[in-house]
């Protein structure tokens, strides 16, 4: 066997160096082209929305009842479902971030499930649970309570699909809080509840708010589970995505106007999440 397997002759290194330089020089335009093409692919459709409608037509369709109903219903239901997610999700995220218990992995998996579950599956699952003849719904029906195809169903569908976005972010933010502050607070006389309210939650605040914003955005865009579980009734269950789908078949201007509003909200969401997470550092 050759006793000097790593021959380091000057020519070899020079040639390799040259090769690397050449391929790097060739790569840069290629990567730039890929990036440019992809950015164009993302921005072109969004820009097309704005190009397809005149400002006058946009303002005119904003006055249409179908647009106004969808806008107000969407904002109200997304706000309510975000509040529900925060109320239920914050303690859950805090417990899972700070305590190890049997079955924590199962709880984590279950709370993450809606992220990977197709919305259509979520819709039919909710219907099977809370529909008139559903597992829970049939008992509620005895008391004259029906959930499916009401505004409550819209909110439940949104909570179902949007909750993981908040809970995941909240848990990560709680884990990022140094336990030392909590220990110090306890030696100063703070009960576990006081520690959570005055130390852990304030220190995780930026992450919690950005998680809530993401969850709100997901609730606002919810379509599949809503149309299956809540139906598509204007003023009651027809949220903005459903209204876009409905008006697209007749009044394209209304559909585009709604879409533009959602684009604006989406930009606001991204910007505010960026600002919130940057401030945390």
């Amino acid at each position: 066997m050759d006793s000097t397997p790593f021959r380091q002759s000057p020519e070899v290194t020079r040639r390799e160096g040259g090769l690397a330089r050449v391929s790097r020089a060739g790569l840069t335009p290629l990567v730039a082209a890929l990036v440019a093409l992809f950015l164009l692919f993302v921005t072109l459709p969004v820009a097309s929305l704005f190009l397809r409608i005149s400002p006058e037509a946009f303002l005119r369709s904003l006055a249409e009842p179908v647009v106004l109903d969808a806008l107000s219903l969407s904002l109200v239901t997304a706000a309510v479902s975000t509040a529900i997610v925060v109320i239920f999700g914050t303690p859950l995220a805090l417990v899972n971030a700070r305590h190890d218990y049997r079955g924590r992995a199962i709880v984590d998996t279950l709370t993450d499930l809606p992220i990977v579950l197709p919305p259509a599956v979520a819709g039919i699952a909710l219907l099977m649970a809370f529909g008139r003849r559903g597992v829970v719904g049939q008992y509620l029906d005895h008391f004259g309570i029906s959930i499916a195809f009401t505004t409550v169903a819209v909110i439940l569908a949104q909570v179902f699909v949007a909750s993981p976005f908040y809970i995941r972010q909240a848990r990560a933010s709680f884990e990022a809080v140094d336990r030392l502050y909590e220990d110090a607070a306890r030696t100063l006389g703070a009960s576990p509840a006081t520690v959570a309210l005055r130390v852990t939650i304030p220190l995780a605040w930026g992450g919690l708010v950005s998680g809530a914003i993401l969850s709100f955005a997901r609730a606002l865009g919810e379509f599949g589970a809503t149309i299956m579980f809540a139906g598509n009734f204007q003023g009651r269950t027809q949220t903005m995505p459903l209204a876009i789908y409905t008006t697209m078949q007749g009044d394209l201007d209304a559909a585009i106007s709604l879409a533009i509003i959602l684009v604006a909200i989406s930009f606001g969401v991204i910007a505010s999440v960026k600002i919130m997470t940057r401030r945390r550092l």
Binding site: A185, L188, S191, R198
Partner: protein
Amino acid sequence: MLSVRAVRHLRDFTLDVTLSVRQGETLVLIGENGAGKSTVLNLISGILTPDAGEIALGERTLYSSEERIDVPAESRKIGHLFQSYALFPHMTVFENVAFGLRCRKVPRPEIASSVANQLAAMNLADLSDVNVGRLSGGQRQRVALARALVLDPDILLLDEPLAAVDMRAQGAMRKELHDRIRNAGIPCIVVTHNLGDALELGNRICLIEEGRVVADGAPEEVLSMRDNGFIASFAGPGPHNGLMPRAPITGHCGGPPDSWPL
């Protein structure tokens, strides 16, 4: 008077210590990093729970495995200063010091006056509204001390109190800390791996190795244990090594104690 007998199984060894601190006494726990010194403080203040043993502070039993007593950390009335001071970064100096009083539901005007007095005593009055992120190491230490002392604790635990203060200021800070501990007039446990700190601050020194107390006595006694590897690492072989029981304390003296890696 604090008496501790505590056993706790750690990852690398079993911590098994018995020690006591008399009224007005300052006990120094010294030993190498990872010897279990900070764990002892955490067991006393209730952040960690022993696997067995008994901890009593005056008349109060804080922990007893036999009697199944475990007073939660928030009810122990123990001042615990952490190595990095753990000042709440989202609060001002005032809010940090007021934190414990608010937890005790002390009336607002009383909080304002207690905190103001404590800050004045610590030369921190000007910094009351400053966010703690903008303080120097020495100022942070004083805020942490004020935050603990304003609650009138029965004992003070200091974990490496000078480690986060920059080298040049350490001599002066040590002197200041010494005075403040004496003035507070409460028993105190100081954890350090710096023999200079131990000699300046302690009435009594406990040497801890791998979770066990291997020496317990007056500073001079512990210092004379030349056969111990940890002591010898400061002292060197000869008797005239520049390490006197009362090492020079003003400024950075450059002797073996200060050269011990932080």
